[in-house]
Symmetry: C2
Subunit: 225 residues, 2 copies
DNA sequence: GTCGAATGTGAGGTCGCCCTCACGTTCCCG
DNA sequence: CGGGAACGTGAGGGCGACCTCACATTCGAC
């Protein structure tokens, strides 16, 4: 990807949309391969030839469905964003009977597993370079943050509405950073990091949490204020 | 920078070292220009021609002192690492009479200012792509973490030695993430983020801090354990 | 002032990468 | 089974980026 591509096709310019099953699968294979290649060598250094090769198809096919490399990138981002949305809606949604600490821990565990299942994900999510791509990263995290705000509204009764946005941003960005850090270390140490991150967030959010007095689980210590 | 550069000169291969003042200044100008260009368009998309143009010199001169683009990149990383070391040694070092909370706040403020003074810094520090460059980023943060460990040893008496490394890593990575996030937002909102980050770290570190009982500033609540 | 070394220059060689296009293959509908 | 549409292929055009090299300029010691 060269600097001069800056003004290339907007996102998914005029191209065939696959109608047959065969080609739908091919498109999926291309996306999978692209995610792998991006993760391995970086987005800019990834070549369409390498992607096609890994997808076991020809460049011609690749360019039949994607107008250019950028479009492939954005298609992957869209796919990830969709997965993240689903994850949030089905896995991170609050479960009745959980304490908010358990809720946090469970959410982090879910995201941790997601990061580790799809090696491309964590690479794509953060490890790109120029401003244009950072936009996409930020967009995903903003979406995260928006949904986190909703969770805060439900759970963190002691948190004034005006501060919700900042707190949500800080939370999302911290969790992202911790998961990425943890993925960079060996699994054992990575788990320590995740555990420590959980502890940090517990202590951070404690003053914001609604505190129905006299919970049986409580340690007996009083809330900070 | 193409994928095939992977095996290029190790870092600073055989090249003239500047002996005259004129050329020393030129090398500095090239590094400054390169930092700017990297920050603007990303590392991979940056071209040696653009760097030379911004440094108001010719490509020929550039290649007289640097064997290839990678070498320029690593020279910048080394320069930044050096500045960060100095920052840590002279600005983040503990000051007698400060509470540990004040120490944290002051350190973050110093790093915040550093990030904002040198626009290239924050861009370089995180926004690069392929694995090779991530190495360099991680290396800098490991160095940060090592020095933070030393600070923890001095300040966080309640923190067992075995946990120091994880805590230092979590701290460094969190601060990095928060500063980068804050730089992505407009300055006003950015300051809110920094303030919130400080609050988070205060609460996080509280149980680890040495707690000479009966401090006048204390809220009276007992540490979590 | 003289001369050799250090430094500066930029047109152009070379190469890798993006993407096209003309042609071959598979699918599907009646 | 026939024909048209969808799909698949890969050699190669074109372009831009890295880096070289032959030559020009400046520096500094004597």
């Amino acid at each position: 990807m060269k600097a001069s591509d800056r003004e290339a096709a907007p996102a998914g310019a005029a191209r065939k949309v696959p109608t047959q099953d065969r080609s739908k699968q091919r498109v999926e294979r291309i996306l999978d391969a692209a995610a792998d290649v991006f993760a391995e060598v970086g987005i800019e250094a990834a070549t369409t030839e390498a992607i096609a090769a890994k997808a076991e198809t020809s460049i011609g096919s690749l360019y039949q469905f994607f107008p250019n490399k950028k479009a492939i990138f954005y298609a992957i981002v869209a796919r990830y964003a969709e997965r993240v949305r689903e994850l949030f809606d089905y896995e991170v949604a609050p479960i009745a009977g959980r304490t908010w600490q358990e809720q946090i821990d469970a959410s982090i565990d879910v995201l941790y597993a997601f990061h580790h299942v799809d090696a491309g994900f964590r690479a794509i999510l953060r490890n790109w370079s120029s401003g244009e791509f950072l936009e996409a990263d930020d967009a995903i995290n903003r979406e995260f943050a928006r949904r986190t705000e909703a969770l805060l509204e439900a759970h963190a009764k002691a948190l004034p509405a005006a501060k919700r946005r900042v707190v949500a941003e800080v939370l999302v960005e911290t969790v992202s950073a911790m998961l990425i850090l943890s993925a960079r270390r060996d699994p054992e140490h990575g788990k320590l990091i995740v555990a420590e991150a959980k502890a940090m967030l517990h202590r951070y959010l404690e003053p914001y949490s609604a505190r129905p007095r006299g919970r049986p689980k409580g340690t007996g210590k009083k809330p900070a204020k």
